[in-house]
Symmetry: C2
Subunit: 146 residues, 2 copies
C-alpha cells in the first residue's frame, strides 16, 4: 500500500467529518504491512468533544497495542502539539501528512526525535482546510487553542 | 483553593481508578478562581481505551472552552508527552503535578514554553504509583509506550 493510498483513508474520514458539519481532519493508523488498525476524524463539533482530534480518534479506534514502533500514523493535516505528543509518547515510527500549509504543528519536532515524517502536499487536503477555515474561522481557532 | 486542595481532587480520581482495577493516575482542570471544570482518570484498563489518560479525560470532561490560558491542570503524575502536548496546544497556563519521581514526562519542556509548572512531591502519589508499577509493570509500560 502506498502512502497516497493510506492518505486516501484519512481523506475519506475528513470528508465524512465535513459532511457531519465538523472540522475536516481525518487520520488512520496502519501496521507496517499496510493493515488498517483504526481510523477516525476530528469530532469537536459533532460530539462537542475537544479531545477528539483525527489522530487521537484513529489511535483510540486501533485499540490497545503493545508496540507502535512499526506503525504509521497518516493524517490529512500536520499534527498539532497534542497529536504530536501522542506520536512521540507511544513511539509511533512514521507519520504521513497530507499537508502542512494551512497549519504547521509539531512534525519537525517529531522528525528531530527520530520519527520518519513525510509531507505529501496533497491539494485535496489543502483545499478542504482552506475552505473550512475561511467559512468557520471561530471553530478552527477554538480547535487549535488560539 | 490551594494547589494541595486541587491535587486532592486528582488524587480522588486516581484512587477511584485504582478501585476499578485501573492505572492510578487522576487529573482535574480548574479555572483561575478554583472552580472545577472537569476531572478524570486513566481508563486504559477499565475501558480498554489507550487514549484516555488522566489529563485528556479531565480536558474532555471540561467540555469545549474558548480559552485555557487562565486554567490550571492538576495531575497526580508528571504528564507524558501526549498530555504535555495537550497542555501546550491549548495554552493551558499552569500545571500542578503530584509527583515526578516514578515517571518524568514533558513538564520541563512545558516550563520552557511558558507554562507555570509546580511539582508538589506528594507522598500519596509516589506510593500509589510505586505500588502499582511493582504489581503491574506490564500495564504500566504499555501505558507509556515502552
Amino acid at each position: 500500500m502506498t502512502q497516497e493510498e493510506m492518505l486516501d483513508v484519512a481523506v475519506g474520514e475528513a470528508r465524512k467529518g465535513l459532511s457531519e458539519g465538523g472540522i475536516p481532519i481525518g487520520a488512520a493508523l496502519f501496521s507496517a504491512d499496510g493493515v488498517l488498525l483504526g481510523s477516525g476524524r476530528n469530532r469537536r463539533v459533532q460530539d462537542d468533544d475537544p479531545s477528539v482530534h483525527g489522530e487521537t480518534d484513529a489511535f483510540r479506534a486501533a485499540g490497545r497495542q503493545r508496540d507502535y514502533r512499526s506503525t504509521i500514523m497518516v493524517t490529512t493535516l500536520s499534527p498539532c502539539w497534542y497529536c504530536s505528543g501522542l506520536v512521540r509518547q507511544f513511539n509511533i515510527g512514521a507519520v504521513v501528512i497530507g499537508e502542512a500549509q494551512t497549519f504547521s504543528g509539531g512534525h519537525d519536532w517529531l522528525a528531530e526525535h527520530g520519527v520518519a515524517v513525510t509531507v505529501l502536499e496533497d491539494q485535496r487536503c489543502v483545499e478542504m482546510m482552506t475552505e473550512f477555515i475561511a467559512a468557520h474561522p471561530d471553530v478552527w481557532l477554538e480547535d487549535i487553542g488560539e
